[in-house]
Symmetry: C2
Subunit: 276 residues, 2 copies
């Protein structure tokens, strides 16, 4: 059976890359504060980085702020990724970084928005509302969901780090409970986790709690996470299981294509060294 993660793994093999290219058109990085400039900014990155990208991750916030025009730009960026996929002869998945979370028919409407209207392959979700808020996004095995587990910001300690009591089990930090739950919900091979790169020891801990899940790992570079340590702590034994998200490190490079290629090659070296 084809699943979101079997599609992703095929792409990882095709391009020998674990790089997820974040598309975050910050107003500060644009030539003008407009949806057109956001689209052009992203299209340039898509074109330059596609050969080295295991996935692209546009963040809805930076498009929404431009209203309907921003929403149109987001759709155009996703369409451009589809065109690059065709050109490359290899499907590059689109992970919509939307961090949605709502119940019942509302979650269904968000799923329709992400997968049907925008044409994304996967989405990031908040786990706070529990399983029934996730289900509408993972009914189709070819669509995936990455649940926020442990984030790289200071506020992560406010909820995620709290130890939770569970009957008949040892207390664990909430983020590990989320990892265990996500593992249980992954019956169709399409549930992953968002785990920040800031603390490699935490990544290793989540890996131990969810040995087979894919992690989307932001926070390398600007947020201070160390790439090598993140891969060493997070990779599965098969050299898969970690998507390293880089946004500004590519967007602000003089040559985004070269920056993406270097990141791909560097990660490949680490993977090979680990598998020896």
């Amino acid at each position: 059976m084809e699943t979101f993660f079997s599609l992703l793994e095929r792409r990882v093999d095709d391009c020998s890359s674990l790089l997820c290219v974040g598309l975050d058109p910050h107003v500060d990085d644009l030539q003008s504060p407009t949806a057109d400039a956001a689209r052009e900014h992203c299209l340039r990155l898509v074109k330059a980085a596609a050969p080295y990208a295991a996935a692209f991750k546009p963040n809805t916030a930076f498009f929404e702020r431009f209203g309907p025009q921003g929403w149109t730009a987001l759709k155009q960026v996703i369409d451009a990724i589809r065109q690059e996929s065709q050109r490359l002869g290899s499907h590059v998945p689109v992970i919509l970084d939307a961090k949605r979370g709502d119940i019942a028919s509302t979650a269904e409407a968000y799923a329709a928005s992400a997968f049907d209207s925008l044409g994304a392959d996967a989405i990031t979700l908040s786990p706070y509302l529990g399983r029934d808020s996730i289900e509408p996004f993972i009914q189709d095995p070819e669509h995936g969901a990455f649940l926020l587990c442990k984030t790289s910001n200071a506020g992560a300690q406010d909820l995620q780090d709290l130890k939770v009591e569970r009957p008949g089990k040892q207390p664990v930090p909430l983020y590990l409970h989320v990892a265990e739950m996500a593992r249980g919900w992954n019956v169709r091979g399409n549930v992953g986790l968002v785990v920040g790169a800031t603390y490699p020891a935490t990544l290793a801990e989540v890996r131990a709690a969810a040995p087979e899940l894919w992690f989307l790992v932001p926070g390398v570079g600007v947020q201070g996470g160390d790439l090598d340590a993140a891969l060493q702590a997070g990779l599965r034994q098969d050299g898969m299981g970690v998507l390293i998200n880089v946004a500004r490190g590519i967007a602000r490079a003089l040559d985004p294509g070269s920056a993406a290629a270097s990141l791909r090659d560097h990660m490949l070296g680490i993977r090979r060294a680990m598998q020896k």
Copy 2:
């Protein structure tokens, strides 16, 4: 100092109402599955219910699913609420039910989207990423944020009901910890909570943990919550502090205006009885 909740309380006084009218244009309720039909559905409700509405709460999901046209419709619905406010001579706040949650500059972009681009007064947010994910939304006292605390769905037990350990304190369910945190973050008078109506005892418990905060209470009617019990459990001693959200109970009524008026009057009766 004017704050979101002082604005809301003025509106509650003006219309003697604690009713929040949910604007959820479910595809099933529309004449056709289009953004135009969603807009017309909502405009009819806004016009009929405005005199009895302490606030309106459009849910972004049902607009997003129609792409850019949906986003245009959402803006038009919010503009129509502004026009009704002018006609009534009383500002009816708009709470954007978006349940967003992201970090740093991304949260700032979502705040710009909700408050600057769409013109909403307040927003619902997920607390999972902690304080720094909330801050960009509450910098301006006249803009408010309702944090998800205890929701009315079955999945609420997966995270929200877990007991969390805190140094030097008794373990409490996560939702009570969120209530206590929100209370601490409410330094500008613009932080509230989303607490489902399903379990009045839980509402009373959250009220005890956060005596002065405003609660946005969904789940009355379709989701089985009891209106009288919710008000009795949630109202502050001043007869304020609870916004009862009703969506389908108004949208599916033969006469939405009468349905809203009846709800307003019924709640007013309960408030008066409690204050005797």
